[in-house]
């Protein structure tokens, strides 16, 4: 944490300043590696460029997502098979742990954190991330944690593992991943709070960056508690196993990180992205920015409050919960119901505020509707489809989480829980894919064709719905969860829901693979047009990152601009129009 942190890549990139004879293997303009052997690898492993570190996180998250979907498919096949077990019981317990770990630490955390690290500095008009080496350290800590967790699970570790050393290793891996998340969160939060362009007050911060700040602050409050718990668990498991009960204690004390409402925290940037894309889709300024900021923060504050008050999260009306006997019973129910409503409704309310903002924008302006000119352009991009479907999926999971907390519905311990977390994480994955699509010009210098990406969004959306909602239904039909009877069941009526879930995971796998293929193919220069230049703002977006070149240079901006409103690109267009200039927007028309 030194002041030199603020100048990223002082090593290889700035080596070019030493004189023309020094060959660092790095292109001075783009900061990308040149043709020297291993230069590419070394660049990616040592770079502190926010775009590189962010892409490393995103790539890790995509690999984690694919691995987790594979595990989900294996578990799904096992459950479609019904009462006969394909896997032996040891492998089963490790797969359960791998699924949980993969969903939260393998997918949600790296995808969302990567997007934040890669994009927040450009959105703010900053030349670099604050504490870029800390962010890079965060990636490597997280990556190390994932590797250690994988080794542990492969060798009979995990929460139900039988090899004590490997269980210790599994606990340590949780700590490593949490420390990685903490390092990245510190960097993100400091970036938003200290590196904004001149004139960019907090009320002019783009919604995605705001959500990144809220997300990072939540991680800073949440993950240290996990680290402390992990230290206790490690010492106890390594020695006496008296205080926390050995393996059983791992889920009892650290399991909250894998459940709702904790996972909602990881979804906050997806909602920020949704709010970010609304004005782009409707081609208008979003005037009620304070309401949207409040909505995003409400999701975080109420989710965080619920994490700290898990005891009050549920409605303890076991038996007769939906009938009122007498005045005392009514009073008791109201007293129990208020905290339940507080912790469960407020995150939903936050999301409803965002959807409300979208509806307000969708309403045609009065002048347009009176004249019937239909001037309000609606430009639903493929990225918007991804993000909308992801946000909807998370919203459905939030409602489901609310039901899960009602004891009388008997959903606890059923596959309903798995349906909810899969819904949240697949929603986050869809949102992250939308983000990568939207900002691909800045990250890769390429535009992914909407016509090819939109079907993948629909496929992924269908996959996410099928992978989660049937399990929610099966939960109502009392299909046990993974930790109860290994998730196996005897009621043949449940088979259809398990088949549908398996199909859902398969569709999600196809969507992710298709998306990865599309990104890789698009990233390769077109042989017919190798010098194709992507315009700075192909989507007619309004925020600051769209005034720099595509891809963004190593230090993001040639000149750091002065910001005069929350939509600096629109200001520029207005100024150009009023000055009678037609050149200002000419490069904005090259959308795909």
């Amino acid at each position: 944490m030194t002041s030199t942190e603020s100048s990223p890549d002082a090593g290889p990139e700035s080596g070019a300043d030493s004189g023309p004879d020094v060959d660092t293997g790095i292109d001075d303009e783009t900061g990308e590696p040149g043709g020297r052997p291993f230069a590419f690898l070394v660049h990616w492993m040592t770079s502190t460029d926010s775009k590189v570190v962010g892409r490393l996180f995103i790539a890790g998250g995509v690999l984690g997502l694919l691995a987790t979907i594979t595990i989900n498919i294996i578990l799904g096949v096992e459950r479609v098979d019904g009462d006969t077990a394909i896997l032996d019981s040891d492998a089963w317990s490790q797969l359960i742990d791998a699924q949980r770990l993969g969903l939260v630490f393998g997918t949600a955390l790296p995808l969302v954190t990567g997007l934040c690290i890669a994009l927040v500095p450009i959105q703010l008009g900053a030349r670099a991330l604050a504490f870029p080496r800390l962010a890079a350290l965060g990636f490597w800590l997280w990556f190390g944690g994932v590797v250690v967790a994988g080794v542990s699970l492969a060798r009979n570790g995990g929460t139900l593992g039988l090899d004590a050393d490997m269980v210790d290793l599994y606990i340590a891996s949780l700590g490593l991943m949490a420390l990685g998340g903490l390092a990245a969160a510190t960097s993100i939060a400091t970036t938003v709070l200290t590196t904004r362009a001149p004139g960019m007050t907090m009320r002019r911060v783009p919604f995605f960056s705001w959500s990144a700040l809220v997300y990072a602050l939540c991680l800073l409050l949440m993950l240290p508690v996990l680290v402390g718990t992990v230290v206790y668990l490690f010492v106890d498991h390594r020695n006496t196993r008296e205080a926390f009960g050995g393996n059983v204690g791992i889920l009892e004390w650290a399991g909250w990180i894998f459940t709702q409402p904790t996972t909602f925290v990881f979804a906050i940037p997806v909602f920020g992205l949704f709010a970010e894309l609304l004005p782009v889709a409707f081609g208008k300024r979003l005037t009620s920015r304070g309401v949207v900021y409040s909505g995003l923060t409400l999701v975080a504050v109420s989710a965080l409050a619920a994490v700290t008050q898990v005891g009050a999260f549920n409605l303890p009306w076991a038996g007769g919960g939906f009938t009122v006997d007498d005045a005392d019973d009514l009073e008791r129910k109201v007293r129990d119901g208020i905290p339940w409503a507080f912790f469960n409704f407020l995150p939903v309310l936050g999301v409803l505020i965002l959807f409300g903002a979208g509806l307000a924008l969708a309403k045609p302006a009065k002048a347009d509707s009176d004249s019937g000119s239909g001037k309000s352009r609606v430009n639903i991009s493929a990225a918007m489809v991804f993000v909308f479907l992801g946000a909807e999926m998370i919203f459905v999971a939030m409602i489901a989480s609310m039901l899960h907390a009602i004891d009388d519905l008997g959903l606890q311990g059923t596959v309903f829980e798995e349906g909810v977390i899969v819904g949240v994480v697949y929603g986050i994955a869809l949102g992250a894919m939308g983000g990568a699509l939207h900002w691909s010009p800045k990250l890769t210098g390429r535009v992914i064709a909407a016509g090819k990406a939109a079907p993948l969004a629909l496929l992924g959306g269908a996959g996410a719905v099928l992978a989660s909602v049937p399990y929610m239904i099966a939960g109502f039909l009392d299909q046990p969860g993974l930790h109860q009877a290994g998730g196996l069941y005897e009621n043949s009526d449940l088979l259809i829901w398990n088949i549908l879930t398996l199909i859902g995971h398969g569709l999600m796998a196809l969507a992710v693979l298709g998306f990865v293929g599309l990104v890789l193919r698009t990233s390769t220069p077109d042989p017919d047009d190798p010098d194709h230049v992507v315009p700075p703002n192909p989507w007619n977006s309004q925020t600051l990152e769209w005034i720099t070149t595509s891809p963004a240079p190593a230090d993001n901006f040639d000149d750091v601009p002065v910001v005069e409103s929350a939509e600096p690109v629109l200001d520029l267009e207005t100024a150009s129009t009023s000055a009678g200039s037609t050149s200002a927007t000419s490069t904005n028309k090259g959308g795909v």
Partner: protein, 191 residues
């Protein structure tokens, strides 16, 4: 696209101070979370009619109190460093940083003395494991703080007088002091 009017490249606004503040908040959550689990386990043991502190273990209170008291001069020296830094007084800033690091090391030494005097074996029971976990985590934070102090001192020694870094350094030690005060009360007073 036409560029917006260029502005001078802005200096990051209080980046180090804010980073140190966020790190301090994280330290607060770490130690606070660990102490909350400690109190919970202690209450559970009492509810079951069990003794939380093993009967053959005596906590040496004098070195524990000395550790708490030592944080007072530590904070004063850290603030002295800030004061000297604002006056570009490199000599005094270095002296203050040296004393800050020295006292931090003395606190680590006092903690080691507590371990020695208690003679507690980590595998002896629930209390022992949790005691070493919470105090050991704090010692790790202290050592991280010593490294931070050394880095700040080297930068001062090299002529890079950075007032904000000294403030961030002081903020870190204030947070550590607050965290230790809570730890002292829960672990050494309430036991």
């Amino acid at each position: 696209m036409q560029a917006l009017p260029a502005a001078p490249s802005p200096e990051p606004r209080r980046q180090l101070l804010l980073g140190a503040s966020l790190a301090s908040a994280a330290i607060g959550m770490l130690v606070g979370g660990m102490l909350a689990v400690w109190v919970l386990q202690r209450t559970r043991a009492h509810d079951l009619g069990q003794s939380w502190l093993p009967s053959d273990v005596t906590i040496p209170e004098v070195p524990a109190n000395v550790m708490l008291i030592a944080f007072l001069p530590l904070c004063i020296f850290a603030q002295w460093g800030v004061w000297a830094g604002r006056r570009n007084d490199r000599g005094h800033a270095l002296l203050a940083l040296g004393l800050t690091g020295l006292i931090a090391l003395m606190i680590v030494n006092a903690q080691a003395f507590v371990y020695h005097e208690m003679g507690l074996v980590v595998a002896e029971g629930a209390y022992a494991g949790m005691f070493y976990a919470v105090t050991g985590t704090y010692v790790a934070l202290l050592l991280a703080g010593v490294i931070f102090t050394i880095i700040v001192a080297f930068r001062q020694f090299g002529g890079r007088t950075d007032g904000e870094l000294l403030v961030a350094h002081a903020v870190f030690w204030y947070a550590m002091t607050a965290a230790f005060a809570a730890l002292w009360y829960v672990v050494y007073v309430l036991k």
